[in-house]
Symmetry: D2
């Protein structure tokens, strides 16, 4: 508790007056920076040029009189200058598309008649498409349980060049045939900008994986595509880096964006990654686009998929991604974390009373 005293009150009132004066001065400086920006743009300069112009003059040196040391004062002046520069750079530029506007409601997407962004969806399927039988059996099984999104990789990002790299375009055709036969929307990962167009011919939803979150050539190609995109978080990406990666997609006109939290790399060896539920909570506030959570990859094991799925939904996730394979021990990748069919039935039964995805 602050002590009470009239002399103190007078000093505090003066402090308050100085704070109001500060606000007015910073606003005046902001308007001056904007005028600089308008002039630079009129001269043909870029947004960055406009920003740089506002900081072209050296910052003023602190007077000797003040109680602060010059470094502290410089921090304030630099902040005000940086804000002016940011203002100048935004002049004539759009705000970040990825941020939720004031009062902006959640975005809803509809893919093959299936809504995303409201009641929780489930995106399930094998790590990789391996054969027509494998993917068709999986699609039939999932469709019967209310799953509406079938995932399956045709191009696999593999840590080792000697591991199975996916079936390529034939895999895409098998995935999409299986999905259509059972009324599902298909989701598949793209790795190479040159494959995006072909992937769009087959798949309903494109996915950009964690390793490619900052593959800007791929993001641009996917931004030009007319397909919804699931953008996974990079394994050591901050939220701001992830959102700016998403902005690469949005900036090129593709607004059908879905963000997928998949765990971040930490020191803990018992799980493959640490599912970051704070990220889900923060994104649900800051971003209008649907957020889903991949629970298979952060776990890297089957025994905690149910609590991770519950936690992700409780934190606000609007969907789950989970790997399901008819015969995980013979799977060509990620054998240790894919659920088999009975395992997936137990997973659904633990999440929803009637053992089906609701809706």
């Amino acid at each position: 508790m602050a002590p009470q005293d009239p002399a103190l009150d007078a000093l505090l009132a003066e402090l308050g007056a100085l704070d109001r004066e500060l606000v007015l001065l910073v606003e005046r400086r902001g308007r001056a920076a904007l005028e600089v920006a308008v002039r630079v743009r009129a001269l043909g300069g870029s947004a960055k040029d406009a920003a740089r112009a506002t900081t072209a003059l050296a910052p003023p040196v602190a007077s000797a009189a003040g109680p602060f040391d010059p470094h502290e004062l410089a921090v304030v002046v630099e902040l005000v200058r940086a804000q002016g520069a940011a203002l100048a750079e935004r002049e004539g530029q759009p705000a970040l598309h990825v941020r939720r506007g004031a009062g902006e409601p959640d975005r809803r997407l509809v893919v093959r008649g299936h809504p995303i962004g409201g009641a929780p969806i489930v995106i399930a399927g094998p790590c990789a498409v391996e054969s027509a039988e494998q993917i068709d059996a999986t699609a039939a099984f999932l469709a019967a349980r209310g799953v509406r999104f079938l995932r399956g990789g045709a191009y696999k990002p593999r840590t080792s060049p000697y591991d199975f790299q996916g079936l390529g375009e034939p895999g895409l055709a098998l995935l999409s045939a299986a999905a259509r036969a059972h009324g599902l929307a298909s989701v598949t990962e793209v790795l190479d900008p040159r494959d995006v167009e072909r992937a769009c011919e087959h798949a309903d939803v494109l996915q950009v994986g964690a390793r490619n979150m900052q593959n800007f050539a791929l993001l641009r190609e996917v931004g030009r595509a007319r397909r919804p995109v699931v953008l996974k978080r990079g394994m050591a990406a901050t939220l701001d880096e992830w959102l700016l990666a998403a902005e690469h997609v949005l900036a090129l006109g593709n607004e059908e964006l879905i963000l997928c939290e998949r765990g971040i790399r930490t020191f803990e060896p018992r799980t493959r990654a640490t599912l970051d539920v704070s990220a889900i909570a923060l994104l649900r506030q800051d971003v209008p686009f649907p957020i889903v959570a991949d629970v298979s990859h952060p776990a890297g094991r089957r025994d905690i998929l149910v609590p991770l799925a519950r936690a992700a939904l409780a934190a606000g996730a609007q969907g789950l991604m989970v790997e399901v394979h008819p015969d995980p021990v013979r799977a060509r990748s990620d054998a240790q974390q894919q659920l088999d069919f009975p395992g997936f039935d137990r997973f659904l039964a633990a999440l929803w009373p009637d053992g089906r995805v609701p809706g």
Copy 2:
């Protein structure tokens, strides 16, 4: 899919026979290691001596004939030897107390009549006890909302030596008076082994904070105390390190243990720590003791406490810890993350339909 072929089947059958032979040989070796251990203990050696004796002989050199390179073979031999040594070390020793025995049910504690380990509990209160008015007002407020555990620090672990260090023993007395006046159990952190006895005179539950998770002198003193202990996870502790820290408490006979996940340190700057819901899920499997989650510290901000609390409970946490202060902006520590009373009412209302802790 593996190809089918009779010659292959014969080779596979041979492989299977060799696997069975391997099991028998490893078991024989295990029994031999145990005999060594029994002999070493009979000669007055310690458990560690017994373990070391089993690896006193140099490992055999791989023969030249084999297909493995010597390094690979050494890994197998070292594993078998290490397991034998572990077996030898356990000979005559108890298993880890902290691990759930086969089929062992969840432990339930009862503190001042309030159960822990079943329906979710809430441990709430200010970061630090600051005055009789502050802690009593908080206790009255919390008790009216079904909270049964009042937290408040008398000894504060402060990063800077120039920050408020807590009221010390007078703070303990204020906390416990407020708790008793309103039928609550009190929870307080201890920092110094020399304070444990005094803390036990006042508080119902002791807490060991994240910074002291491996303060073994403190853990031993707390292990000798006859009070339940909340042991928080260190900010960069693996689950195994945390469980072994808990074992220090259990090994001295204090079995009233509560584990508290409070977030781990990662690279993400938007939150103070990353709440690790996988840890909650894994501990609920591996440990019979109650697990609670502190949501205030990992968040370091108020706006995501509700989704973090929901996620922690969904992952299996049996309770929540949250900081509540009558006037957070004037709080002497952690001002930015403590909830005020209306904020805590909104928090409860978001978690439970009638705005009270159930039960």
Copy 3:
């Protein structure tokens, strides 16, 4: 110290005999796994199929007699089976190219007459090529100080889509003209597999950046190129992931590989990344290819470039990468970490007595 006792000695002798038996049995099993592999390959199976075949049979259940619990025994059996599977997979396959063979000497590359892999090299230049004047002035300045490698980005990986993305192909032409005019080899980053061919027409050395370390489409294209490649470590990549990324390049026949440590992401906020000197030390043991260290990016500031450079060289790095710009405050990217010309002169003077790169 283990106690001495004849009965104990007899028991230890028996343990030693069992260890030798174990080695022989594991080798027999290895040969049996190899025979399985040979048969699977003869039947048209892939290396992975061969590996999987060796584990197609369920592992044997532990007998009831043994002292181990079944889980422990399973770990041994699984290890032996996994080693057999690895042996089977390698059958008929090359070893990892990236690993140093027994007794293999360091690789030396020569680019435009300048050797890499012996005495330390310096790769210097601006973050981005901005103009003919900028890059030519830099090239002239660097050449006069014994620098032989000129870096400069034409395609810039930028976190935000609204930041300067580089000049593209014109930037490549400016870079290579400046390099040739001053007898330097040019180094430039590629982002898009479709740009690799064009980049090869201009640049002497290609670079794959940290964000693209696991951009496998790009790695493959670079693996097909006939140009040396600098592969930077991803910011959260383990050494094994980095080496396997390098293997993607080597597997396609490009053996002119240079690995560049550039810091890993940690919790420490004072530097942009943590330069991992252990990684340099370990790679120098395990890998015959040249290792260099980028000191500008991990520092993210200018004041510790000298000690970081000294530490990197002391740990075994065969070169340094550092950002130098004629006018860093007006630079279009990375302004806060690029050295200006007098700063680079001080940097060289601190590292080498005559203020020049030796050799």
Copy 4:
């Protein structure tokens, strides 16, 4: 490059004038905050009370006219208010002792005649004191090689309660007897505030380990001791947290401080921790006290001790700490990382031409 234009120049001049006005206003506000502080202290308030008083009034609301959104403006106002609060808090308080004053030279300590803080020292010895023979043999060996500081643990911080916990006070006596017999200064770790006094009776230098870096009860006791203290960095401690932990020691009057970097916890599995050479470089700038580097613990293996030691010294470390044991395979702790005598001879020979610590 910013475009050139007279109208722009006029606008820039106005911006410069506003920057100078800003400096004056912030200084005025700083002086007003100081007056508040003086008054609060005169009324009996603490430094924290003084700080809080300056922010007791709500910050002003941004006027509607300005170009910034209220959030941006709030950041500036909050920064200025926070700086004012910091100024108020420092009023009548000492600056941080741990920071190097302007122009302050490096501190030199002398322990038993051996200087610390100039030419590199080596602190070597076993992880734990195990017997008179072991520690005396080590002391004799080290003294003959120019080592002047003998380390050895009597109280061991052990992750598991069932591991060897050290010999306790008898271990202290053995350590100090061995050190004195060979003209060495002894260094030993303390874990419990109650052991500090006894440790001071035997040892020349106290050590606070990584796990206890924020054990404030221990830091305070060590701060009251009249012995030099080696304070190791916590395994996930930021530099600022480490420096504030050191400040706990200095604040109680013990200015014989030595800081020891020992690696930070990261995701990389090949080493036990990541030696942070940037931390060494930054501390050498910011702190006048000696900085040493423990190379054994971050490595967790023997094969990279030489390059780590070279890198630490190159980054500015004024000493090395390394574990040496006469018979590492029989050591009771840290067997895999301790050097044996021939290994330590090779280590010295790699670092210094005559195979001895110079000086």
